[in-house]
């Protein structure tokens, strides 16, 4: 973006850059989950934990409450809720059915 490249010496822009970076995560969905969300991947702002992510997604897509899924943070399936770094990639994974 223009201001990031040329205006970064402004303290306010350091703040803006940090702020926007810290909050942006990418969400990937697959299989039956994509049927519910209607989109395969999207970005979300202001999500700092998987708990917050689940809460936000289930509010937006109530059908998610009715299906099983696991969550992978940067390709690792998590066993319990975790904090999310900036730029994290979160995958919502329905039960596997390969083979």
């Amino acid at each position: 973006m223009f201001w990031q490249q040329y205006w970064c010496w402004l303290p306010t822009n350091y703040y803006l850059q940090m702020h926007s970076k810290m909050n942006k995560i990418t969400v990937l969905t697959f299989g039956a989950i994509t049927d519910i969300t209607g989109q395969k991947n999207f970005e979300m702002d202001g999500i700092d934990s998987t708990e917050k992510l689940v809460e936000t997604l289930e509010e937006k897509y109530p059908l998610l409450k009715t299906v099983q899924y696991a969550i992978a943070v940067d390709k690792e399936v998590i066993q319990q809720h975790t904090n999310l770094d900036s730029d994290a990639t979160i995958a919502i994974l329905p039960p596997f059915s390969g083979g």
């Binding site: 299989g31 039956a32 390709k75 995958a91 994974l93 329905p94 039960p95 596997f96 390969g98 083979g99």
Partner: protein, 148 residues
């Protein structure tokens, strides 16, 4: 059938019998091998609520699947005395009667090849982020569920 890139387990569409035969043939130069074990997964035309499955459309989270397959491979080579191991899984549409999974293990003696092959198949079904969409003859679908 085309392999998407080197060291990738995924292939577009069904796995042909000719490909399986060719894989076996390629091992004739490896003369320390005394046993091969092969698993072939075939798409079954299940009848669900009166509707017949005509094909399965496979999708994956490719990056995660390949990383995890690498881990499975390392675990298996650590656990069993294998000479080699090859895994191919279909992506996209595979019709009933066609092959969608090919696991091929080779060892000096049969037990390692057989046990490793079985364990790899079980782990693929349980741990790889791959999804099968069962497509019925009337073009409706449901998401497949594996029996664990």
């Amino acid at each position: 059938m085309e392999i998407k890139k080197p060291k990738n387990i995924f292939v577009d569409g069904a796995i042909s019998a000719a490909f399986v035969a060719d894989s076996i043939q390629k091992h004739s130069t490896k003369t320390t091998i005394g046993a091969h074990s092969i698993f072939l997964g075939q798409v079954r035309n299940d009848i669900i609520d009166g509707k017949t499955v005509s094909a399965i459309d496979y999708t994956t989270y490719e990056e995660m699947a390949l990383e995890h397959m690498h881990k499975i491979r390392e675990d298996i080579f650590e656990k069993y005395e294998l000479t080699c191991m090859h895994v191919y899984h279909s992506l996209g549409k595979v019709s009933a009667g066609e092959i969608s999974l090919f696991v091929f293990t080779s060892s000096a003696h049969r037990k390692a090849a057989i046990d490793a092959c079985e364990e790899v198949v079980e782990r693929i079904k349980k741990e790889l982020p791959v999804w099968g969409k069962e497509i019925f003859e009337d073009a409706s679908y449901q998401w497949k569920q594996n029996n664990i």
